[in-house]
Amino acid sequence: MRTSAARDLAALMTVAVLALAGCGDDGADAASGSGSGSGSGSASGASAEPSESPAESPAESPAEGSAEDDEAGNAVEVQVTISGGSTTPAGERITVEPGQTIRLTVDSDVADELHVHADPEHAFSVKAAKGQVFEFAIDTPGVYEMESHETGNQIISIQVQP
């Protein structure tokens, strides 16, 4: 009797834990944000191709979206805006696979530097310009942060999930 009461409680708590867990996940979608489509002429990153616009499916999580694509097109797109001292996204989590390309499209009104605290580290020099494209990938599973050096803000955290 006691055990079954305990199981009921366990089930209740399971529900509670799951409900709580929901709070943490809200941000993930926003990071996949719509590409601005403002051209990529001033790209100083390695990317040669123009950034494609995944604007049609803003609610889609980046990892899921990319899993269906073939290898050529499976980059995760992140639109970054640095404007008036504030940065967007503001700390959202994106999920990628090891080695998957992450393509940043950066609109900025100041010169800044983006740091990805992975091993090896990635540092991107941002100019006061729109549509700058940078690409990188992380091979080692874990959670990494990308920060704007000037503001100290965390822009995204990147969950490299095998």
């Binding site: 799951l18 943490g24 540092a123 874990g142 959670v143 965390q154």
Partner: protein, 447 residues
């Protein structure tokens, strides 16, 4: 300069390699929390009804030679020498090494010392007492001055108990988790300088009792050592014993609740501050500086201590124990929960950064030297590639810690709670323990 700031940035990302652990899978957290709940109520309902733990009176004596060796002046001298040499190495790097993250000071202080105290105490018991460079310095000074190291100018006011230690622990976790410039060498210099000063003045005033009550590292080590299988019996013999018996012997000093609250609250805060939830809030409301994080850290500690104390005192009807004494009587039961969560939270950091620090220690001054022959060692990435093993270890550590805590609390309840109230009286505490464990698992899931 650019390298400098770049390097400083890096540790803010936590862990010298920059990577943090993947969240544990949700189903692991749920299974862990469910087990914790079931175990708790099973213990309350079905376990023994008369206290069976005997604390320091318990244990199977190891051969007499073990006690003789452990207590020999040679062993003591060797351990003190090891502690002093390690401290000297650290101080040389601290004072003369470069202000870069490649300086071994940071990894040694925040990871090898702080996290390493736990496996050290679990495996070998309270050896920090002998390794402690401050104790050794105090001993040396006392010898020089011809005074008794145990005697100070006045007796330690025992009603303070472990409160100075709790304050010291908070000072450490504040530096580690809140202070924004904690990876500039001047911060560590300042903290360690203050620590040395307070330890020496305090021990001159109160004798070596000061270390047992106020040295944060010794307090931490003594508390964790109570979950180790080794201890000293009341007759002086070194024994091997059930960790639960060992735990039962932890004195219910004033301030023990505060120590436990700081240790658990700060570890939980460390998970919380890295969660996307908190990062986004602090950026949305432009929380800068250290005031708000300090208050949040303090809030976590107060929440842990407060919830625990209220739950323990909620027992209705009292026997021979004063209500206000109850929290200290039960605080030992939170220790295994802390150890479990500490293992879950820091295991990968300890392995990764510990190995990296070992490499850096070979070159304390940043001159390219390789004094220890460990120069090539970088961060160990074992757990980066063994994600499932790490997640399983985390949940097991948390659940085992919870189970030990529930047993410890149950035994204490049937001993000190008034007849007829033993079972109902421990329910609030069990609920709080489940809350701590589930909260810890949730943070492992969400950060």
């Amino acid at each position: 300069m650019a390298l400098d700031t770049w390097q400083h940035d890096q540790i803010l990302a936590h862990g010298l390699g920059g990577a943090r652990d993947l969240p544990i899978p949700a189903e692991y957290a749920v299974i862990g929390a469910t087990w914790a709940l079931v175990i708790s109520f099973a213990v309350a309902a079905f376990a023994w009804r008369r206290s069976i733990f005997r604390g320091d009176a318990s244990g199977v004596a190891l051969p007499r030679v073990v006690t003789t060796v452990v207590d020999s002046p040679v062993t003591h001298g060797l351990l003190r020498a090891v502690g002093l040499i390690a401290f000297g190495w650290f101080v040389v790097a601290l004072l003369f090494g470069p202000d870069l993250l490649t300086n071994p000071v940071f990894g040694s202080f925040y990871v090898v010392l702080w996290v390493g105290l736990v496996p050290l105490a679990l495996l070998l018991g309270p050896v920090w007492r002998l390794l402690s460079p401050m104790r050794t310095l105090h001993l040396g000074l006392s010898r020089l001055l011809g005074t008794d190291p145990g005697e100070g100018l006045r007796a330690y006011p025992e009603r303070l108990g472990l409160w100075p230690g709790a304050v010291g622990l908070f000072a450490f976790v504040w530096l580690e988790l809140v202070y924004p410039r904690n990876t500039e060498i001047v911060a560590v210099q300042g903290w360690v300088g203050l620590y040395v000063f307070i330890m020496l003045v305090g021990s001159a005033t109160f004798g070596s009792t000061w270390f047992a009550r106020a040295d944060p590292f010794e307090v931490f080590s003594e508390v964790v050592a109570r979950v180790s299988p080794f201890g000293r019996r009341t007759d002086g013999r070194i024994v091997v014993r059930n960790p639960l018996e060992n735990l039962d012997g932890l004195p219910a000093s004033p301030g023990l609740v505060a120590v436990v609250a700081v240790l658990f609250g700060s570890t939980a805060y460390d998970s919380f501050r890295e969660s996307p939830y908190w990062v986004q809030i602090s950026q949305r409301y432009e929380i800068t500086g250290s005031l708000v994080p300090t208050l949040v850290l303090l809030g976590f500690c107060v929440l842990v201590g407060g919830l625990f104390s209220v739950a323990v005192m909620a027992v209705g009807g009292l026997g021979h124990v004063r209500r206000s004494d109850l929290p200290a009587q039960f605080a030992h039961s939170i220790v295994p929960i802390i150890v479990g969560y500490f293992v879950a939270h820091y295991l990968s950091t300890f392995v990764a950064t510990g190995q990296q620090t070992l490499g850096q220690l070979s070159d304390p001054l940043g001159t390219g030297a390789d004094l220890l022959g460990t120069a090539g060692l970088g961060a160990n990435s074992f757990f980066s590639y063994h994600v499932t093993a790490l997640a399983v270890t985390k949940v097991l550590a948390v659940v085992i810690g919870h189970m030990l805590g529930a047993f410890a609390a149950h035994d204490r309840a049937v001993r000190v709670l008034p007849a007829g109230r033993e079972l109902i009286g421990q329910l609030p505490l069990l609920l709080v323990m489940v809350f701590f464990t589930a909260g810890g698992l949730y943070l492992l899931l969400a950060s």
